[in-house]
Each structure stands twice: as structure tokens, then as C-alpha cells.
Symmetry: D3
Subunit: 193 residues, 6 copies
């Protein structure tokens, strides 16, 4: 298999490096992602411009999806709802695609991008998204009552931590994508529709 | 030297683990921090409750202060200005202490917690904080013009990425600290005053 | 051809009438739309519940697209940018589809739903959207300077009126769709992708 | 009776046409309004600059006041409360006058312009205005609970639709008046005081 | 002349005292105001419930109108624009009346209550109100540039202080009137129209 | 004892007068404050530039702390919470020092500057601060329900008035300090830590 090519316009405000110039561990990770997805998602090409951040960013991301009391659909629901409120084009589209795949629902991502309050979801997950969006938009308004509500609908202490962690991480991720003007690969547009 | 003790009330909404129960790499990192600071900053005790997140969080943090085109005073200025806008008690106090130490200025942290626009800082750093605060409060309003302004006052492309990265990371960090209700160690209160 | 069937779940908060019970002029309009689109867009089914509003709503809509100094792509760009800011699920999806068709660009609608400031559009149309979004979010902040900016990039007086009119009408339309919880037909999801 | 004269300064940002140059149906409507009111309200003079919009605007308006489950005082209360929140000078003054007349209360309009929460109104109408103002300022926060509250104080399904429709229409109307800088006729100032 | 009577409903949330029970200096001040105005403005009746606050409040008020580099029309313009933004019913109506009298313009108050940006005023006074409203709504956004703008249109250092002082005082005054739910005397409604 | 010296940089945007040039009553008050505090708090030096405002400002302040149903710790808690939300550097630091002294708690001021909702305070005082912050940020949202909540936790009618009065006065005070760019004396930084 030939080496992946990083798209020049993965982001518009910083230079995207050449694959060949990357440290070996980044090459390995990008090759694996490219093989699995069939293309190199632009967030890898963009973060590759600063390898120490690439490593930390994806280690954090991996922990959020691998070591979690949430199911993957819940993780992606939080990501899309948070990204919608933060107005992040890259994350709306890329994680919208992931959400369509993990949920098997072609409409849920567009609902969450627009307005999670009108999404067709359970009361439990509505509570989860209410907390995620409050923590996004007004973190100083989160009080004990929010944790009690999550407990009340059945989330464990670890699940609550994970809801906060996914929310917090995509508040980081949205800001990096928006600052660098990362652009979603066109492959994401039709995945899972 | 005896093993560090993690403060029970490092955070009020999740249980703080016992030092002895932690994986070896977390014990090593916490021991080192404790030796250097003379106490165990509560953020270590809090994140220790989820080791995979502990590792990713501090790897990211280390990259931000070790592999950067900014000087350490600039990093801490961003942290305190962002935490002030997000209303994060833990970060205001803990990073306020660090900023007093790195800047040698006992008043700068209180200025940035209150209102960075009235701080006694250079025009260059005012531009840096304007961008950091906009990226915090209204990331969708960041445009090419913000990057041009940073370039105009002398920041390199890498420094711009780093300004965004510190800002983005503390938008994560503030939210974790606020959700878990982390409490700053009392030692921070008087450091550098 | 058989009579159109109005989807029961065109909106969730009010009852959708039977096609057969509608006044003749509504039946005629709905039949024509259904023939052209291949399905009955749910906004017709929803407004049919109050015929006097149906008539006025679509007369206004028709004037906006038929008697205008803007081209149709511009009209739909305003609609999607405004609906994105107002968080309207129905309009994001239905007019996102129309925008993909009129612009021939499969990505523009997702850009405008997320953040018009990062869309790949001309300076002229960025000025148009800046004014449309300001008039949406803070109408009291619109001043003479906004009209001068539109004139400066080449919009005629009539075009300015039309920019305001499309913006104003979709501030009506978004609110009706959100209040009634109108749901986009699934056909819109893939149109033009 | 002589033909009405349209005030040149009915709006400051677009040209007001001559009465004689208007299509016959607009002349007829304006003549009738002028006869009833004793003067030509400036909103007619302003919309006359685009006849297709004039027709749709007033058809919608007429439907809202003629085919409604609300009484006229309720309609004007919504208009004034919404216009107050949107900061619309024309609508505050013109519909403030109408509200004084329909309610027989010289103070209610000034209360609603300032702060509907301190108005001397029934609990039922306070619920109506709470929903109208939420739908104006944060349409994405309207949920099923708002409709249940309206039902709880006695509004029928049709009345709820009408509350939303009046609110939505004046979100259109306010924006047109503010964009064109429409000016209320001085006759409105003292009507009903 | 008989003693003034304080209206029982000068405010709805605290008890209004009897004139006869007031300290002599309050009786004297209220008698004088009543003689001059022909009625007792309710703000006097309301503040009379706490004499120490009555004295300080009116001493401050008197300094603002007696010892000032602004003319009285400018003072009342600031008051009405600030009260409009803060949504204060009492101040809109009572100071709206004063502004009509001091300016000789029956429309200016309603313009400022609605939207000072569309008022018919000089560029100099528009600068004054821009600063007053920014200091009201986002005091942390006031910078040196605002003072330079005021100097540029001709305000002296003392006039700038006075602009800030009137703005600041009515941010106090609005909050007391709104908290106590003070009600404007009906005499204010028609004064100066 | 020698005469106090007013710090030249008590504020940066207006000139600070010479002590010798002040009216006798201002000299007396400043001398007394200086003797008690061991230094001249800069707010006295700043307000001395306009004696009529100096007198009214401190008369109001004195009434708030001398003639009150609140204890002094409550007064300073409101001041710091309000100043924190308004982003006032001078008041955060100066009244933070007073709060440390009156409460005997070295951490409470930093908690209130950051986020009163995470402060270690009784439910009664949390209710007090909820009302004070709502009255600061959204005075139009204060309703009868807020006063009932205060009554429910044990505040008398006079105490409620006083909570509103302290809040309102520091909405004045914050704006004057921020407009003039008053700077806290360095002595405040370490008081009570």
C-alpha cells in the first residue's frame, strides 16, 4: 500500500506537513487511520503540524472512546451537540458522519447540530445533553443539581465524569478546528445517510 | 521521603483515590510534583481518579509548556485570562500563583482574573489576550483578521498555534475543574504575593 | 395521479389535517408542489392546519423568490445562515437541500449551518450574510453603516430591501417551524449531496 | 375626498413612492386605512415601495387579527411585548397606541415596552407573554413544557398557534421596520393616553 | 397648603410610609417637590421607607444635575437610554417625561427607550450614548478608546466623568426601582407630549 | 501626624487632586480613613476629584454599612460577588480584602470573585447572592418569586431592601471604578490572607 497523502487544504490557516517528514509514530497512526477509513481524516493532517500536540490530542481522544462508561453513540451525541452549539464546521460534519454510523439513524446528527432539544432521544440522553450543553455554554451555572439529575436517570459516577470529559475535550477540539479553519473531508458528507 | 497524601477534598463531587492504589506511573508523577512544589496540587489528586485521563491531560499540559514558541509568562497569562472569563475558581487561584511567580508581578494575576483589558501589559500581549478571550467566548467570531493582528505584533505561525492551543486546553481544563468542583490547595493563596 | 397524502408527523405539536378536508386553493397548491418535488414538503402539511396563514405565508414566500433583485442562490444562502443561527432543524435541512441544488455545491449548506464566517464565499456575499445575521441576532445594532457596506459591495437599494425581507421572513418561518416542531421530510437529507 | 399623501420620511433608508404611482389595489387599501385612522400610518407608505411585499405583509397581518382564537387586546399585548424586547421604535409607538385603545388602559403599553414581567396582567396572559418572549429571544429553548403551560391556563390548540404566529410575524415586522428605519406618525404618540 | 399624601402603590413590594411619620428633613424635601411638580413623584414615596437611603440617593441625584459639565437635556438623554436598556418601567416613564420637557421634543424619549441608535440626535450625543450604553451593558469593554472618542467630539474631562456618573447612578436607580417595583405616577404619562 | 498623600495613580484616566487643595470636609474624612487603614484607599483619592460626588458616594456607602439589617460579612459578600460578575478589578481586590477580614476566611473572596455558586456558604446566603447576581445581570428577570425566596430563608423586608441597595450601589461603584480605571492599593493584596 502506498503512503497516505495529507490534503493541503486540511486547514487553511497553517501549513500542512508532508507525510514523509513526520515522526515514525505519527506516520504509523495516520497509516492505520487511513486504512480503516479509506481516507485520511483532515484532523490528523492538521494536528501533524505539531507532533507533541498530535500525540496528546489523540491519546486524550482514545481514552474518551476506549475507557468509558458511556456507549459510543452517547459519546458522539455529546460531540455533535457540543459542536453544534460552538458552531464548529469540521466537527459537525466529521462527527455527524460518525454519529450516523454508530446510531444507525440518518437524521439524528442534523437534529443535534440544529437543536438537541428537538431531537428524538430518550429522557436519559436528553438529561445527558442538557448537562453537556450547559457545561459548554455556561460552566459556572453547573451545580450539584445537574449531577443529581444525571444520577436520577441512571448514570454512574464514572459515566458523569465521562460526560464532562467528552464535553470538555470537544470544547478544546472545536476551538482548535475553528482557529486553524480545519475543513472536513468530502467523504464525511454522505457517510451513513 | 514518605508517600504523598492526596487531599480528600481535592474535589467535592467525585471520590479522590488513595495514592497507594494508583498505577506506578501516576505515583511517580505525583511524587515528583509533590517534591517540587512542597505539596500535591489538587488537580493531580482529582485526575488520578481516572488514570487514562490523567495521562492524556498531563501529556497535553506538558507539551503546552515544554514545546512552545511562547514564554512561560505568556502561557500563564492566557491561562488566567481564560479562567477568569470562564469563572474557574481552581484555575484562577492555582495559575494565578504560577503567574505571580513567572512574571514576578504580584498584581498581574488579579488584574487578569478581573478584566484583562485593564491589565498593565504590552500591546503585543493585549493582542494575544484579545484573541484568546474571543476564542474562548465566541470561537465562531475568530476570523483571518485575528491571525493577521497576531502576526502584526510579532507572533510567528507556531506562536499563534500555541496561543490557540493553550486557550483551547484551558477551556477543557476549566470545565473539568468546575464540573468536579476542584478546590485549590491553600498553599496557592499566598504564593508570590 | 392520486391525491397527495400529508404526513401525520409533519409536525409533532399540532394536528395535521387530511388533504381531502382542505379548501380547494390549498389542495391545488399542494398538488402542484407535490408533483414538482416528488413528495409533499412538510411545511405545506403543517401550515395547511390554518388556511388563512397558509395563504399569507406562501404568498410572502413566493414574492421573496419571484420578485427579487437577488439570485436564488443568494436567497437560499441567507435562509440557511439565518436558520443556522436560530437553530431551526426544519429549515436547516429543507433549505440546506435547496441550497445544494441552487448552488451546485454539496458543502456550502453545512458551512452556513455551522458558521457562515468560515464559508467559501465571495466578499460580496459575506457582507450580505453579515448584515442578515446581525439583523437576526441584534436588529437594534443595524445602522446606516450596514447599508453603506452593502452598497459598497454592489447591492442596489432593492437588493438591500430584499436581503432584509428574506432575513425577516425566515425569522418568522424559523419560529413557526420550531414552535410547531416541524420535521423535515427524509427526502431532503440526501438531495444534492 | 382628496387622495392620501404618503409622508416622505415614513422611513429614512429607502425612498417612499408617490400615492399616484401605486397599483390600484394598494391605493384602495391605503385610502381605506387613511379614512379610518384619519392619517396614513407610515408602515403602509413604507411597504408601498414594494407592492408584492405590501400585499403579502398585510394579508398576513389581516389573518392574524381577523382569523384568530385570541382577542384583539391579547394580539396587541404580544406585539408590544415582542417589539419592546426587539427594541423596535416604530412598533413600540404605533402598536402601543393600538394597545391603549383596545385595552382602554393608558399605562399597559409603556409597561410592556419596558418589562412585561412587571405589567398588571392576569396569570393567563403572563404565561402567554412568557412564551411569546421566549420564542422571540431563544426559540431553541421552547419545548413541549411551554405548550403545556399555555394549555394549563386555558389556551386552545388554535390559540397557541396564534400566539406563535403573532410573535413570529412581529419578529418579521420589527426587523423590516428597524432595517428601513420606519418612523411612527406623530399622531400615535397621544392616541389613547 | 395641606401635607402631601404618599401614594400607597408607589411601589408594590415594600410598604410606603405615612408622610406624617417621616423625619422633618424628608418632609421638607417632599413638600418642596410636591409643590413644584403638582404631585409627589413616587420615587420620593418609595425611598422614604428608608430615610438614610433617601438622603444619600437624592444628594447624589442633586449633585448629578446641579454640579455638572453636561446640560440637563444630555443628563436626561443618558437616563432614558440607560433605563431603556435596563428595562426600567419607572425610569422610562418618569424620566421620559422630564426629557420631553427639557428637550422640547415629544418623540425623543420614545426613541431612546426603544433604540438610541435610531434617535434623531447629533453625532456628539450619539458618542455620549454609545459610551453610556456600553458602560451599562458591558463595563469591562470600556477602554481608553471610548474616552478618546468622547474627547474627539468635544467633551471635557469633567463632562466625561459626569457621563459616567449619570450612567452609573441610573444603574443603581433602575435596580432599586425594579426590585421594589416602583410605579410611575400617571401624571408622567402625558407631560410634554 | 503629617497630611495624607493621594497616590497619583489612584486612577489612570482622570487627574488625582492634591490633598491640600481639597475642601475641609474631604480632608477630614480622608485623614480619618488614612489613620484607620494605615494608608489612603485609592477610591477616596479618585472621588476627591469631584467633591460633590465624593460626599454623596460616601454618604450612600456609610448608610449601607451603618444602617442595615445585614451583617457586615453579608454586605461584603454581596459586594465581591457583584464585582466579580461585573469584572471590576478595584472592587475585587479592595473588597476582597475587607471580606477576608470580616469573614475571617482567607478563601471566600477568591471563591466569590470566581463563581459564587461554588462558594462554601450557607443556603441562606446562597439565596442572597442568587438574587444579588440576578439583579446585577438581568434586573428585568427579578420577580416576586425572588423576594419570596429571600423571605423563605429568613430575610426580613428591610434586609431584602438592603440586599438590593448594596447590589445597586456596587453596580454604580463598579462602573465608576472601571470607567476611571481606579487601581487598588497594593496593601489590599495581602490583607487577611
Amino acid at each position: 500500500m502506498s503512503a497516505p497523502t495529507l490534503e493541503d487544504d486540511a486547514m487553511t490557516r497553517f501549513e500542512v506537513p508532508e507525510f514523509e517528514d513526520l515522526p515514525e509514530d505519527l506516520q504509523a497512526r495516520i497509516s492505520q487511520e487511513t486504512e480503516e477509513a479509506g481516507f485520511t481524516p483532515n484532523v490528523f493532517s492538521a494536528f501533524a503540524s505539531k507532533p507533541s500536540h498530535f500525540r496528546a490530542f489523540f491519546e486524550y481522544h482514545d481514552a474518551l472512546v476506549d475507557d468509558t462508561a458511556l456507549d459510543r453513540e452517547e459519546v458522539e451525541m455529546i460531540v455533535v451537540a457540543v459542536s453544534g452549539r460552538n458552531h464548529c464546521y469540521y466537527c459537525n460534519v466529521a462527527h455527524g458522519a460518525l454519529l450516523r454510523i454508530y446510531s444507525g439513524d440518518p437524521e439524528l446528527a442534523d437534529q443535534l447540530v440544529a437543536n438537541y432539544r428537538q431531537a428524538d432521544i430518550s429522557e436519559k440522553r436528553m438529561a445527558m445533553l442538557d448537562v453537556a450543553v450547559t457545561l459548554t455554554e455556561a460552566p459556572d451555572e453547573v451545580t450539584e443539581a445537574h449531577l443529581e439529575r444525571l444520577a436520577g436517570v441512571g448514570y454512574s459516577a464514572e459515566a458523569m465524569w465521562d460526560i464532562a470529559a467528552v464535553t470538555a475535550f470537544f470544547n478544546l477540539s472545536n476551538r482548535m478546528a475553528m482557529f486553524a479553519d480545519m475543513r472536513p473531508n468530502e467523504e464525511f458528507q454522505t457517510m451513513g445517510r
